[in-house]
Structure formats: C-alpha cells, structure tokens
Subunit: 407 residues, 2 copies
DNA sequence: CATGATTATTTTGATGCTCAAAATAATCTT
DNA sequence: AAGATTATTTTGAGCATCAAAATAATCATG
C-alpha cells in the first residue's frame, strides 16, 4: 500500500485541501475554508499564514459584496497570481498553440502559429515547437526558469512515459520525440499527454471539483478519441497511451483504417469513414492523408437531412460502430457516465438512433440501468482549458502543497 | 481529493503498514518491521506494544531458526490467530462452499454442501445459504457475532452495491437478493462479489503484496470472466459488476448467448459455444441450460488433437473471439499484464494461435510492446483463497488499523 | 456617541504522532 | 567475569491538530 505517514504528510495533505478549496471557490474567507475542508479554524489560520508568507496566497481586502453585516468583517483569501507561470501547448493539424497562465488561472498570453505539420520530419517537430516557445517567452519577457510547470496536448497516441508522440493525425511521421529535445532546446520540462485525456480531466475536475466515479468522455470528428476517468482519476494506462477508443477493433478483418489496420472503430465512425461509406467507396479504399474539410462534412450532413439514402446509411453505420464500441467499454468498465463531444456532434441526431439501438443490443441491462449518456457541444478551447486545469492541479499538489514551497 | 489528515490518520496508516508487513512475512522481529515499513524502531515499538495490548499481535518466543548469533536475540511477532474469525462462501453450480479462517489466515473449517441450484426460486437461495451458515457455525461452536467479516464469491454478475446476484450460470432465476436476507437470517453481514474479481484481487495481492500496475485476469471455461486490477486496485465499477468480459459484444448480431443476447464473446469462447460450433449446430441454437460435462469437453479436446477439422475450427473461432476481446480491452486500458486461467486453459494450445493472431491484428503495436501475457493453471481453490485474502486485507485496513480496534 | 452584540480570526494549552539519540536488555566471545 | 554485539525501549524535541479562550473589527442602539 502507500508509504509511511508522518506530520509532514498531514500538513501536505491539509495544505492541498486548502489550495483546492480556494482554486474551486476563487476567493474565500478563512471561516469558509474551514467549513469546506473540515479543518478547525486554528489549523486554517496556521496553514494560511504560512502560505501567505510563502507568497502562495494573498489577502484580498476588496470586500467583494457590499453585504455589510454586523460583526468583524471576513477577509477573503485568494491564490496569488504571481506565484507561478504555467505554459500549456497544443499540437493539432497544421497548428501550434501556446498559452501562458498565472497561478490564479488567468490567461496571460495565447499565441497561435500555423505550421504545415503533416510532412514535417520527426526531428523538426520539437524544433518548431521550441522556436515558438522561445519567441513567446521573449515576447512576454519571461525566462524559462519562471515557468513552473508546462504541458503539451496532442491528438493521437502520446506516450507520457517516454515523451514521444507514437502516432498522430497531425503527422505523417511516427514515434516523434518531443519532451526530451524540448527540454534541451528551451530548458523547460514539458509533460506530454493525449488531448482526450486532458479534456476528460478538465471536465471532471470542474464538476464541483470532486467527481468521484467512473466516466468516459468520447470525441467524434476527424478521429474518434476517448478519455477515461476511473474512480475519480484520469486513467493513463501503463505507458500513458490508454483509451485508444478510435482504434479499438469494431469488426474483425473489417474496414481499412488510417492506422493501416482493419476494422478499427474509426474506420466506420470518423469523418473519413463516414464519407467513404456515403460516397459508395469500398471499405478497403485508402483513407485520405489529410483531414476532411469541414465544408465537405457539412454538405454530407445536409444531404442526410434531405433524406439522401447513402448519407443516412453512412451515419447509421457510424452510430452502430460507436454504439457497439461504447457497449464493449461498458461491459468492461461499467461507468456511471458517458459524455459525448467533438465536432462530429453536430450530426449527433443522425447517428443517435443506431447508437442507442447498438447499446441496447450490446449491453447487459443491469449495466445500463444507472448509466447516464450526455452530449456536450464541442468547444475547441476545451483542450487548452483541460490542459491548464491539469497543470494547475498538479502544481498545487506537487509543488505548493509541500511545506517548503517558498523556493 | 481525499479528506483532512490528522494524527489519527497517521497512526492508522502506519498501523496498517505494520499489519501488512506482518501478513506478508508471516512473522518478523521488530527490527525487520522497521526495515520493511521505513518507520523508526521507536515508532515500531509504540505501534506493536499497542497492537499487542489489543491482542491483535502476539510475541512468538519460539526462536525459529536456531541461528544463535551474538547480541540480544530478536523476538518474532506474528498476527494473533485468535484476533478474529473470517467466513468466506462460494456459490457455484449445484454447490455451496464455506470456509472459516482465523486472523492469521489458517483455515479452521472447510465445508461443502450439494444443492441443486439451477431451479431454485430466487427467494430460496439465501435460505439455503443461511441454513448452511448456521449449521456450520453450530458445528464449530461459534456465534454469529464472532465472525468479524464475511464474504461471498459468485460466478456471474454480482452487484456489490445492492447485494443482489443479477445473473449467474448457477441459477435460472435472476436478480436474487442475497446479502440482505442473509443478514436477517444469520446476523452476519456478507459482502458479495464476482469470483473473477476476487481471484484477481488475491493473485495480485500475493504478487509480493505490492502489485502497482494494471492487469487483467481472464478465465475461460463454462463461461468467460475477467477481473481487472487498475493501478494496483481491483476495479469494481459503479455498481460492483464490472468486467463482464464474457458478455462484451464480439460480433454485432452474432451468435446466440446464454444471456439471451446475440454476439457475446461467451457465445464463441465458452465451453458451450465451442461445442455448438464443433457439433455443426447453427449459431442460433439455444445454449444448454446446464454446464457442459467436463468429459464432453475432454472428448472434444481429444478430437481436436487427433486433427478433427470441425473441432479445430471451433477452437480457432474461440481463440479469435478471445483475441479480439482482449485486443479491445487493451485498446481501452493499455494494461501491462494479462493473466489467462480457468478450466478451459487445458485446451489453451488449441486456441492460442488464433488468439495471438487476433491480438496482433487488433492492437496498435505501441500498446502491445510492453504487454506480458501469462497463463496460469486453474486451481479451483483460487476463488476461496482470493476471497479470504481480500477479507483479511479489508479487516486489516478497516478494523485493526484503527486505533481502538480492541473492541 | 459610547456600550453591547455579533462575527472572524488568532492565541493558548493539551494531546498525539514520529524521530534521533541515549539507555537498557539479553545474548555471545574471549 | 568483562567486553562486544545486537534488539528494544525510553526520553525529549519537534510538529500538527483541536477546543476553548482571547482578541479584533464591525454593526446596532439607546
């Protein structure tokens, strides 16, 4: 089991509790922190004065609501924006994105750079990113050592343990080293993670900052992805590349997938899979090397809504694939929630009937009795938001919850 | 996150550490407990004298190895067998089993009762069990309140949260209430769990008592089951009925399963599924209502080994089904180990080639690079052993690690 | 406008836990 | 019988939590 406990552990855990409560509430007086954490006011005083001395928290005299009640007025505490700078990056097709955020979670910067990613040699990926990072640091007059924590979100299979992108729709190249060269070129140590995992993390963390159960967050669009939250924690698998839902087999020896294998769920339910079927191409037709243009998918939706039989059949097939995929996931994990999002959700009404039928056919009733399936409109910023949430949370836990965080 | 920490938590966790070390070692002197737990000798003395006063531990003066070294001789500590009595039950087809174990893990009793389970009305299940429990208690001159913890293992979908057996091959009836009537009739509060989960728990717990990663333990035989260990802890899902691997869909609209649905993995890979295919019956042929006799399966194996084409094809199909099922699980969870066991493992050589091919076809290479697949000969006692291990572990954590366990 | 009521925070003293170091215990060596 | 050696216990310091008491900073009110 876990390791030995001592008074250090106690303080660390309770400091973390206070920081978490404050991150959730934004600002709160000591008495409310006591209520939220269950700690006595004496302890809250002890912890907060320490944190204030370390410049992790600040008192905020602006009374906030003019609610002039009698009695000594409370004084709000909040996270000190100056305590740290966080850098979050996002790699997607033909586009790099970078955000700087202060410790209070306020965005300092948001930069975008267009880079033709697909044909980039593996070794150039980190170079482009590093250039972008350095330019941004310079623009905002920051030194690398002021970045207290940094992370990168990428679509596809990201291996956290090695810091390599094993495979991503943004690149033709495979097994791309990222974190090691970035550290060398910029002096900043980045964490690499799959974008779906990060969205799931962000989403569930927001959910009253205390989601406890098991949930799957699925994305449909150019590809099909999934982030898993198991017993309240995002699950990353043994190498950090879990929940490859899009490349979970749907039909043995089935349709040809972008990844070169046959029968993956994506080959039926991603943009190109749907399109291929709607166009009457055989399942063995090679997937396109670049993303399907949004206009093309919009046109296909319109056709389906006009009643075009081929288009409808393609969406039906996609719904069936997703439904059986989810059914298999449910059989294995018995989650209490499924959240479906992604750009493809625009056409969710077209896939939903087949999806529901497939789940009904593929899952033992006992397992779907308490299951909630929700949809969530896609917001492209969710990836950045999730990444930032995770980084701030890690910073709270691993750095500022420790007693000597002063630095 | 977790709740507030105080000195109580510290003591509880460190007591647990000591108990765990002693359960693993069997017996050990204080100095070794210090080494194993990382706690100072002063703390070990404090904790152990307390535990000895509470009669949870005892000193064992029998020097053990006659290794007469110089210096003050160490004195071994061990778990006090008298500290508690644990009851473990197992429900399988036509058979109830009961074991009594003392706190040191030594078996006090092992009773078996033949009961024709299949046609039992739902309400009689708990009655039969209760009678058996009461008779056993009487035989060993024990009162119900001496049983400190009790658990039941059952094949099929057991819902821990409600204490109902949702569905089991042992019963025609469904949704059978178990723990509630048992408590009423015997005064003992049982935990209900799926047998595969319990085996997984026992297996991984033994593994140096510190297995940390993600593993799947699969069983093949009359049915197909799975127990999941995720990040070092057995995973039970939101209602306690996770890892219904046998009823994970393999082929949409596929072969008829015992559970009434179509295309479940079990319909291809369980004894009856293999047999049905070997006998040339259609996939829609109704599964038998009772277990396939072991002799029949042995005969089928022999036929396959003689080169009988139909038998070979049936095993091939089973291997493919299991392989794709595992491939899907791997895509989702990226485990670092898969352990395959169960009575069906006798014929593993017959299914293995197709199984391996299916995994190779169905899993992204990155996810199987570090994956270990092992087989383990089935030992029917594993279920009992796993149940007992889990109960003792729970007892350590929830009862004896608490400071006032004296009772 | 001074005094009391009220609410928030800090201080104080008690208690519990771990730990390093010193003290004790129980052996074997010589 | 006096040392050497190894295991355990005792002692005193340090740190954390908490309940209760003390203090601070307001509003209410006669």
């Amino acid at each position: 089991m876990s390791s030995k406990a001592d008074s250090d552990l106690v303080r660390r855990q309770n400091r973390h509790l206070v920081l978490e409560a404050l991150r959730f509430a934004g600002r709160a007086p000591r008495i409310e922190l006591g209520r939220r954490t269950g700690l006595s006011l004496a302890t809250i005083t002890s912890i907060t004065t320490q944190l204030i001395n370390e410049k992790v928290l600040i008192e905020d005299s602006e009374t906030g609501q003019g609610t002039a009640r009698r009695g000594r007025p409370s004084v709000d505490l909040k996270l000190n924006p100056q305590a740290a700078v966080v850098m979050a990056a996002k790699i997607s097709i033909d586009r790099l994105e970078l955000a700087l955020v202060n410790y209070a979670g306020e965005r300092i910067a948001h930069e975008v750079k267009k880079v033709p990613t697909y044909h980039l040699p593996a070794d150039d990926v980190a170079k482009h990113l590093a250039d972008f990072v350095c330019a941004t640091l310079e623009k905002y007059k920051l030194k690398a050592d002021q970045i207290r924590i940094a992370g990168i979100a990428v679509q596809g299979a990201a291996e956290a343990s090695t810091g390599h992108i094993m495979w991503s729709p943004a690149f033709k190249a495979e097994d791309i080293p990222v974190t090691e060269p970035l550290l060398r070129l910029t002096g900043i140590s980045f964490q690499l993670a799959n974008d779906a995992n990060l969205i799931a993390e962000g989403l569930m963390a927001r959910e009253h900052y205390q989601y406890k159960g098991t949930a799957a967050v699925m994305f449909m669009g150019y590809g099909v992805g999934m982030g898993l939250v198991i017993d309240g924690k995002t699950y990353h698998g043994s190498t950090g590349a879990a929940a490859e839902f899009g490349h979970m087999n749907h039909i043995p020896h089935g349709a040809l997938c972008r990844c070169g294998r046959a029968g993956c769920l994506e080959a039926y339910a991603s943009d190109y899979g749907i399109l291929r079927h709607a166009e009457g191409l055989p399942d063995t037709a090679a997937p396109p090397s670049s993303a399907v243009e949004p206009e093309v998918m919009l046109a296909l939706e319109k056709a389906a809504r006009r009643g075009d039989a081929k288009a409808l059949a393609a969406y039906h097939k996609a719904g069936e694939a997703i439904g059986f995929g989810l059914a298999r996931m449910i059989a294995l994990l018995n989650p209490d929630r499924i959240v479906i999002s992604g750009p493809g959700i625009r056409a969710f009404d077209l896939v939903e009937p087949a999806l529901k039928t497939a789940i009904a056919e593929g899952v033992v009733p006992a397992l779907r009795r308490n299951l909630k399936i929700e949809t969530l409109p896609m917001d492209h910023d969710m990836i950045m938001t999730g990444t930032i949430d995770k980084l701030l949370h890690d910073l709270d836990r691993d750095t500022f919850a420790k007693a000597d965080s002063a630095a």
